[in-house]
Amino acid sequence: MTTKVKGEVWKFGDDIATSLIAPGQFITGDPEVLQQHVLYGADPEFGKKFEPGGIIVAGRNFGCESSREIATQCLKDKGVALIIAKGFGRIFYRNAVAIALPCLMLEDVDEIPDKGVIEADLETGEVFVEGTGKTLKAQPLPEFLIEYIRAGGIIPHLKSQMAES
């Protein structure tokens, strides 16, 4: 897997809780219901208009509150390629790494316009903004977490480790 990700920006504010990303009332056992309502609590139209490959750019504490892993999984299933935020709810961040949905912490998210294309390098943390021509610097992922993401998540990573031993 390459560690460079390029895509269209989808912007959100602070404190987007997991119960806004994957509201309890749409966790029905039918994944399609949730796919239509991903991020419903923050933007009721997102599930209908998002196009796979897009990059979510958010403020502080993205994915705070409940530990529901389905909140990371439904974003991944939707085709979200990367999430850049000022900060993440810590369980959301762990869950994202665990299922190989890349996340970057960037203090200067306000420098990314609401619309446009950006390209991020997970290893260096560099985020290039096409619209402004600026390169922003996010905290790169620690090497061992990049390994999890390369492997496709903590379970596939563990599987290959167990096979080796």
Partner: protein
């Protein structure tokens, strides 16, 4: 050797190190884990994928989120969970025996100095017993069960120094909301709140549990209380294992120190639309309510039900209010029966719900319609968490909830002192 905070001591002892420093990554062995029906959907599948049949840490499963099963889908989820536990020899707490965070405590599974990692964000509650307890998602629970270990970044610690004593009708819930008002939703990001000091002894175990529960609302990795005489006295009622007091090294350094004079705490509520929109009850008094809820993992223990029963005893709740009481476990319910609390609440017009998390996560058992208002003792007030995205949720202490149920409007419980 460097003097260490409680979380550092626990991560060091669980990763075979003499000491660890904040910011380091460690692989630590885990003493126990838990999952509820949300997790039991996925975890057995992941373990099967890994070919794991022998679990490396004690694991307890509780069916409490969609309990009793509100529809066919969840009935099938529960059935699969039961079959897995039976086959694997995993202890199962079936529907409505209690909440997944309360039951390991009542079973004596979590002791001071342990590292407990569960599949729920409010696993932080177990920190009330002096353990380092934190939440993860289902994949990482599976990884713990498969290997007995997990990676951690050693957190910085915010020391909360407690002094004094809570005033009458003020509870642990008010104390933690007092801190939340200052720290906001990210004030403890990637950090641990460590509670201790000369005021600790005045806090009951039930108060500590509700405070540790909500450490995660400031994005804390954990909320950990020094294990003192109160802790050991409680644990002796649930386990025969040897017990010791546990606290930080004398002279431990902290990222920040937060002074909490318990005597300064007053009745508070988190108000819509954000959990850190904390206001004194006196400022929002008079707001008409449709529903009141005492219970959930945050405030469904005996102390909570006792104070609510004391307030409503001999009175009727307001005619337009639906008042639900949701005990944290069957054990709590039984104790409430023995003390006559169930009768006092039922006579006043309250309805008991089965011990469960249903109302707390927007699933079932008391959802709200557009424009309706609830005051409850649960932890979160995020829009949509109780049915409608256009409903308003206020979260306060059980005393405030009961007083408000009687008046039909948000009410300061000190009027009932």
């Amino acid at each position: 050797m460097v003097a260490q905070a409680m979380a550092e001591k626990i991560l060091a002892s669980h990763s075979g190190r003499k000491e660890v420093r904040p910011g380091e990554f460690v692989i630590a062995s885990v003493d126990g884990s838990l999952a509820h029906d949300g997790g039991v959907r996925e975890i057995p599948k992941l373990l099967e994928e890994l070919g794991v049949t022998e679990l490396k840490v004690p694991f307890v499963v509780t069916l409490d989120h969609f309990a009793p099963a509100p529809n066919h889908y969840y009935a099938e989820v529960h059935k699969k969970g039961r079959e897995y536990c039976e086959k694997q020899g995993v202890p199962l707490n079936d529907v409505c025996t209690g909440i997944h965070l309360q039951l390991p405590i009542e079973a004596g599974m979590c002791l001071p100095g342990m590292l407990f990692v569960g599949g729920d964000s409010h696993t932080t509650m177990l920190g009330a017993l002096g353990a380092l307890a934190t939440g993860v998602g289902g994949s990482e629970v599976a990884a713990i069960l498969a290997t007995g270990r997990l990676w951690f970044k050693v957190p910085e610690t915010i020391r909360v120094n407690l002094t004094g004593k809570l005033p009458d009708m003020c509870m642990g819930k008010d104390a933690i909301l007092h801190i939340l008002r200052d720290l906001k939703t990210t004030g403890a990001s990637y950090k641990v709140l460590e509670f201790g000091g000369e005021g600790l002894g005045s806090l009951t175990m039930d108060a500590r549990l509700s405070m540790a529960n909500m450490a995660v609302e400031m994005d804390g990795k954990a909320g950990i209380f020094e294990a003192d005489g109160t802790t050991l006295e409680y644990l002796r009622t649930v386990t025969d294992k040897p017990l010791e007091r546990f606290g930080p090294d004398p002279g431990a350094g902290y990222k920040e120190v937060y002074e909490l004079r318990l005597s300064d705490v007053e009745p508070l509520a988190t108000c819509p639309p954000r959990i850190d929109n904390v206001k004194p009850i006196r400022e929002i008094e008079g707001k008409r309510i449709d529903q009141a809820l005492v219970g959930t993992c945050t405030n469904g223990r005996l102390e909570d039900i006792r104070i609510a029963a004391g307030i409503v005893k001999g009175k009727r709740i307001a005619r337009h209010v639906r008042f639900f009481v949701c005990p944290a476990s069957q054990k709590v319910f039984r104790q409430a029966l023995d003390e006559g609390l169930v009768a006092a609440l039922a006579d006043a017009g309250a309805v008991f719900l089965p011990p469960s998390c249903g109302p707390d996560c927007g699933l079932h058992l008391g959802m709200l319609a557009d424009g309706e208002v609830e005051i409850g003792s649960s932890n979160r007030n995020t829009a949509g968490r109780r049915g409608s995205f256009k409903a308003e949720i206020y979260s306060a202490s059980p005393a405030t909830v009961a007083a408000s149920a009687v008046e039909g409007r948000i009410t300061d419980p000190r009027k009932f002192a």
